[in-house]
């Protein structure tokens, strides 16, 4: 088990070196993909390594010469990494209009560390998915296929794209299986390890990740399971970035067991497959318009995030929800009061913890989580 985890942790403990080492060894291009909506499959089909851009492992310093502190941790961190030259191993970057802040990042990147390849996609919100929305989105994805193909020097055919979708679907299916195991056997793995398994999927070649995942799942399914005592909690939110592992440890140390989540570096990342059809761009377009899990950045109105959470908590027989809010995240900020109201009406206990990049008062968070645990009752 420890040996398998090493394969994942190599990437999450120092993604910069691990990816650079992979690149050196495999002599392939690396493409940074800005979270959360862009299909990595297209870069993979171009024979490149797509990596989902991440919140860094060190304090922001130079980045504050470009971004004010009251902006989201993802942007601050990516800009900081870029201006420090830590992202030079990325041959290309793909950005998108997703929220107010994501649409400004590439300007700073271009000004200070322009990558060899850059693309900007105008991904629309999903709402009612009109023909105009569908056709425009399809056009954006076709554009990415064309430009990445040109950058790689080889056309990205439907066959190649379908093969990549197949590999990615397999990865998603394995991750969903991992989550199924956790739901059935709460606490079988520490939350920090689950996070690292999912996060490493965003950083590694999917084929390699699949092999590790298969080994991990086989071990989890066949090993004995000692039930862990604790209050079952659902983790919600945390858009674009991964939460601090120390925070996950704290939740567990206080006697709560995360049994499921809808965080980005979690279930949200692998929830939806793309279909294998003779129109793979069409399949990726369709996936963009899938309404669940509800994404507050995406303009969904027909499905309610609060109700979705109530259903999940009831299905899991969970005791409460820990909302992890990425600090200064407008989509989550704007949606949160409505989620809170629905949960309160349904009698589901919930607590809010804000996730910053670095300035997080663990003592304050601990007090809040302790109180929450007391609300949920004893073990």
């Amino acid at each position: 088990m420890e040996e398998i985890m090493k394969g994942f942790v190599k990437y999450t403990s120092d993604p910069y070196s691990a990816i650079e080492e992979w690149k050196e060894k495999n002599q392939k291009k690396v493409i940074g993909i800005f979270p959360m909506w862009l299909p990595e499959e297209i870069a993979h089909a171009a024979g490149m390594l797509p990596v989902v851009m991440w919140r860094s492992n060190e304090a922001i310093t130079w980045g504050y010469a470009h971004v004010p502190p009251y902006n989201c941790p993802m942007n601050k961190s990516v800009v900081d990494d870029a201006v420090k030259g830590k992202l030079k191993f990325m041959d290309g970057m793909v950005f998108l209009r997703e929220c107010l802040q994501s649409q400004e990042v590439p300007f700073i990147i271009e000004n200070n560390m322009p990558p060899a390849f850059e693309e900007y996609l105008y991904m629309p919100p999903i709402y009612h998915a009109s023909n105009a929305d569908l056709e425009f989105t399809r056009g954006e994805l076709e554009r990415l296929r064309k430009s990445l193909g040109e950058f790689g020097g080889e056309e990205i055919t439907d066959e190649k794209l379908n093969e990549s979708i197949r590999i990615y679907n397999k990865n998603r299916s394995l991750l969903r299986r991992l989550y199924d195991i956790r739901r059935k056997k709460p606490g079988i793995m520490p939350a920090r390890d689950i996070l690292k398994v999912v996060w490493s999927s965003m950083l590694m070649l999917k084929e390699d990740h699949n092999k590790l995942l298969e080994a991990l799942i086989s071990r989890l399914e066949n090993n004995g399971y000692e039930p862990v005592k604790g209050k079952k909690v659902f983790l919600s939110g945390c858009l674009c970035i991964h939460p601090q592992v120390e925070l996950l440890d704290m939740i567990e140390d206080l006697g709560m067991i995360p049994v499921d989540d809808d965080i980005y570096v979690g279930y949200r990342y692998f929830a939806n497959d793309a279909e294998i059809t003779d129109d793979p761009i069409g399949a990726l377009t369709e996936r963009h318009f899938i309404k669940t899990p509800v994404d507050p950045a995406r303009g969904e109105v027909e499905v309610n995030w609060g109700k979705e959470l109530v259903d999940k908590v009831k299905r899991l027989n969970a005791d409460g929800i820990v909302t992890l809010m990425t600090k200064y995240c407008p989509p989550h900020l704007c949606y949160y009061p409505d989620v809170k109201t629905v949960l309160a009406d349904a009698g589901i206990p919930e607590v809010l913890v804000e996730i910053e990049h670095e300035i997080i008062s663990y003592e304050g968070v601990k007090t809040r989580l302790q109180s929450f645990k007391e609300m949920l009752g004893g073990v």
């Binding site: 010469a65 470009h66 971004v67 004010p68 009251y70 902006n71 989201c72 942007n75 209009r97 997703e98 929220c99 107010l100 802040q101 649409q103 400004e104 990042v105 590439p106 300007f107 700073i108 271009e110 000004n111 200070n112 900007y120 105008y122 629309p124 919100p125 709402y127 009612h128 009109s130 023909n131 105009a132 929305d133 425009f136 056009g139 507050p296 950045a297 303009g299 969904e300 109105v301 309610n304 600090k327 200064y328 407008p330 989509p331 900020l333 704007c334 949606y335 949160y336 009061p337 409505d338 809170k340 109201t341």
Partner: protein, 420 residues
Amino acid sequence: MGVEYKVNRLRATGNIRPLVDKHWGDLRAAKERGEKVAWASGPSFMFPYSMGMKCHFMAGYASYAGGIGAADELLRLAETTGDLPETCSYHRLHMGLVEAIKKGVPIKEQAILPLPDLLIAGRYCTEQSHYSESFYRRMGLRIAPLELPFVFNKEDRPRIREFVYRQIVENVIPNLEDVCEKPFDYDRLSEILSVLKKTATLRNECWKFLATKPATWTLWDYAVSMAPVIYMMGDPAGIPFYEDLLKELKERHEKGIPALAPEGEKYRIYWDGWIPWAFLGKFMRKFTPHGAVCLCGRYPWEMFPHPELIDPEHPLDTVVDWVYGEETGLACHMAPKGSIEMIGELIEEYSIDGLVMFSSKSCRMWNQSHLDQIDALDKKYGIPGVVIEADMIDPEMVQDSQIDTRLQALFETIDGRRRR
């Protein structure tokens, strides 16, 4: 003793308050008269107007509420129902309004609005759609979405123009027709644009007096005069307002009366970002003692800067081309890369000495790029700039000392460069 600067107040701008009060008063009473009401965000309010509906405009209402001193109570009301303070203050303001309506909380009467029959969620900034979504969740109101992206690369503009045009024809207009139970009135849209063309042409004549040295009026005067070219679009009352304003500016210019007494400004400033609607007096008092006047800015220049391109014969194309047309380039200018070009043009046209980038702590639409913009513009034009942090309407986000210190630093930098 240094020069003691004082603002020469304009008489004509005093005429705007009754006009905007009437506008919002008409909207407030619309339901009682049996009229349909829409709420719109982004540049989309002209479509409900074309159907004879009364229409709220998200940013316009926020500015009005801020201007009449109603913002604070609405913001705090929103926070009592779960909104966090770093949420967009325009969003919070509207959430406060809906809570006041739902629970019958007494608020300033002028700030109360009727709930709409249709929300047009113009996603010019993404929060503008989030507020519509919140209303949908809380009140079950009908939404017509309209994605309006800023154009990051110029070459992207044509296909985005086509996308926006299609959404209007396929999403917005059918929703309006359904709600109003009649076909879309293109003729009325043409009439609105004819009035707007006259109003904006007069407004552009007035703009010329911001370029004079010394300046004849200020950005703050223009800011309070913007309603006739935005949410009062199509209201003929805007024409005599701007005629009167233009007349006064001409008279002032002929008599050599500058915006700042006694002898005109010492520093000519570009202002980037939103207007601090609830604190106009405060900001005026921060600039005036230094002999500084704000003269132009990206946001206040957004509203139909080229009236010569308004073609009432082709109303839908005109509206789309306002933002996505080749000649205006507005959607490109709203994005950070294109903004350099627009701000550069304003620097030259208005003989700007320094840049003030107004960084709203609750609106992150533009503030992320401010530091890089200052850098790029300083390199190109030799103009220094500073960022000041505040908010459009939330008093809890306005800390005077950092603003004062940074403005002082800007003026000293300009002085230093002049001495070279």
